[in-house]
């Protein structure tokens, strides 16, 4: 494997962990808001406030990622190209089958290609579809009166709420898979070291 000086530059590593923290905070408070049986904070009001401000921070974090990606050109890592799609069966077969036989990962990260095709698809969908969707619906929910017309335009509060929640479940699923797959490196903590040290 080719030695990469810095697979993940420092700003992106910091962004990743800030984003991760916000993501988990939003997930936990979000669950409390949706399922009152589950409570992290003793006060629902605290959960609401934390969710709201973590949400705004998450949006700022997302905007940083977006601008960084556009300015540095890192955005290209998230878009699968034509020949990438041929790799889908190989990559999937690796995760589902050959990994148990000790076969090497058909993809190795480099300066040119940081993500394999499945990562591109999932990260791309998360960052460019789900996160904007949950951010926009979240902003609307943060001030229902201010966004009243827009809310009615998309079908009303119930629909808005449903969109936000649906995106949230998909993001939760992503989180579970993402965390687990972070352990699928050469060693269990290899990828974790990558995103911490950048190497």
């Amino acid at each position: 494997m080719k030695k990469v000086s810095s697979l993940y530059p420092l700003p992106i590593r910091i962004w990743h962990w800030v984003n991760a923290l916000l993501f988990v905070g939003l997930a936990v408070t979000g669950i409390e808001l949706r399922a009152p049986g589950f409570s992290l904070f003793s006060q629902y009001g605290t959960a609401t406030a934390v969710h709201k401000y973590a949400g705004f921070s998450f949006i700022i974090s997302f905007l940083f990622w977006l601008i960084w990606g556009i300015v540095t050109g890192a955005m290209r890592y998230y878009f699968p190209r034509g020949r990438d799609f041929k790799e889908i069966p190989h990559q999937a077969a690796f995760y589902l089958y050959s990994i148990f036989k000790g076969a090497p990962n058909p993809f190795s990260a480099s300066e040119r290609e940081k993500f394999n095709v499945l990562q591109k698809i999932s990260y791309g969908a998360v960052m460019l579809i789900l996160v904007p969707a949950i951010a926009i619906t979240g902003i609307m929910l943060s001030d229902i009166l201010y966004f009243f017309r827009s809310i009615n335009a998309i079908g009303g509060l119930r629909i808005l709420d449903a969109l936000h929640v649906a995106a949230a479940y998909l993001l939760l699923i992503f989180l579970v898979v993402h965390i687990y797959m972070a352990t699928l490196g050469k060693t269990i903590t290899a990828y974790l070291k990558n995103i911490i040290t950048g190497k």
């Binding site: 009152p36 009001g45 148990f100 000790g102 009303g156």
Partner: protein
Amino acid sequence: MQSRHVFTRYMRSDSIKIIFVLILLLILFPELTHGASVSADVCLRCHAQYKETHHDGTSCTDCHQDVKTVPHARKLEKPACSSCHKDIPATYEKSVHASSNLKCADCHNVHFPDKDKTECVFCHTTVSHRSLPSEKKHLSVLACVACHARVHEGTVDVTIAVKKGKPFTRSDVDLDNNNVVDKDEWSSLLGLIQKDTYTVDTKYASPGDAHSIKRTAVSCDTCHGEKSLFKRGVLKVSGVASFEVPVLPQLFIPKLPSVEQFKKTVHGKRGVKCADCHTSQARIDDQVCVNCHRQTYDVYKNTSHASSGATVCTDCHNPHSVTPYRELNVTERLNVCARCHQDYLKRHSWLPNAALHFNYLECSTCHSPKSTKSIVFYFGLREGTTNKALTYADLRGLFADASDITSHIDINKDRSITSQELSDFFMELKKKDKKDLAVGSSIIVTKVYHDYSSKGTRERVCATCHSEDAPFYESMYLVIPEKEGAAYVPVKGTTLGALPVSLFTDFSLLGEQKIKGRDITNFFKTRGKSRSDFMRGLGLKWIDVLGIALIGIILLAVIIHILGRIIFRR
């Protein structure tokens, strides 16, 4: 001799004798020539005490018609006044005096007018007007009949006596020369003459028909309302100038603007009269309200809101604009409190989405813990960020028989609304050109407990309301505007069940979207009819069920993957 003989012969004839007597009588008693009547002079020979009697030029026998000859029968019939006063009986029959069996002669003394008892005070020696506001003023300027009898028109005579100063003319008073002194001209006149040099004497003439006296007096608005009985006024100037000019009578009768309004209030509709509360001109105090609202008062008087805030009923309630509390919408209810608590938004800065909350809640939802709260739904049209409730007038035109709107919604007549009935009516209204139709909702107090002293600081628990278990979910009403006012008809089922997502997408409330363990278990357990009811009540929470199921599957896959790695030691 021949001629004497002839005379004697004639005298012997009986018929001649009779004629002779009659002629003699006519000479002696000329009044007998007037048909069968007897002249007053003849009457007065015996009835000298009636010498001074004058009844508008009538003679004794005009009334005592059964006296044809003198001497007359010992017992005479009572004269019928109505034979001349033809119009009066029709009016009088309906009066309170007629119903008390009073006859003309009980008040009128025809033979001795100075002994008439037509002054009310002859019988009504103690006239208690304690319930009349400004009793002295009213009693000093008005005759009894002004209020107690039928009056066609009243006039105000204003005499202003100006003792000193420059003389002025009519055109100095009636500035616009329109032949009537209005408010501005009256003010200008008082500015023209020097202070303390004039006196104003106002007389109110309201000639009432004393035969029309009713049991109850007219109400205040007869004179003090929009259409005052007093239609004419005359201003008489004396002293340095001397002339007369018409004046607007309203300038001298304080207008009570609330009188018209009052008739539309719940008090007015239920027949409460002005004087029932206004026993004096003093400000209404609680003791007046207590006469009817004792129970409410007993609760309220011991609360801290009563001791340090609104100390009297009228601080919050305007008896002239009082609408039944159940008719008020959330904003109107809020405004009752906001008259004093203007900074309510600032004081609720701790509350997320404070302004949004106040679109749906009234203050007493939190600040009167003992009041019963309910969710109320209403049909409204979207207007900005709120729904403007449809009124009876809005709905009336849409139905052939609009005497009872409820019957158009509650089809099965069980005095409660099911989801189906709600949806059907919603669709029916939508078809009838109500495109912006929406179901509005609010959490309001449906049974008031008059204690507002809770500062609510301990109630800053969102989950009190933002939970499916919030108490008001047990009590849901559809408010239906009816002719007689709002009808609160109970709504069956759960909020989401009653307002299914398939129809009411713009509707969201507090706790009904929260996912519960039982939602997931019932999703797998229910069958048949209860399944469709469950799914209807589940609304968009199927997203949660699906999401949780997917996460479960993913976790299971992860576990299998981990097991695989352990088994193959990778």
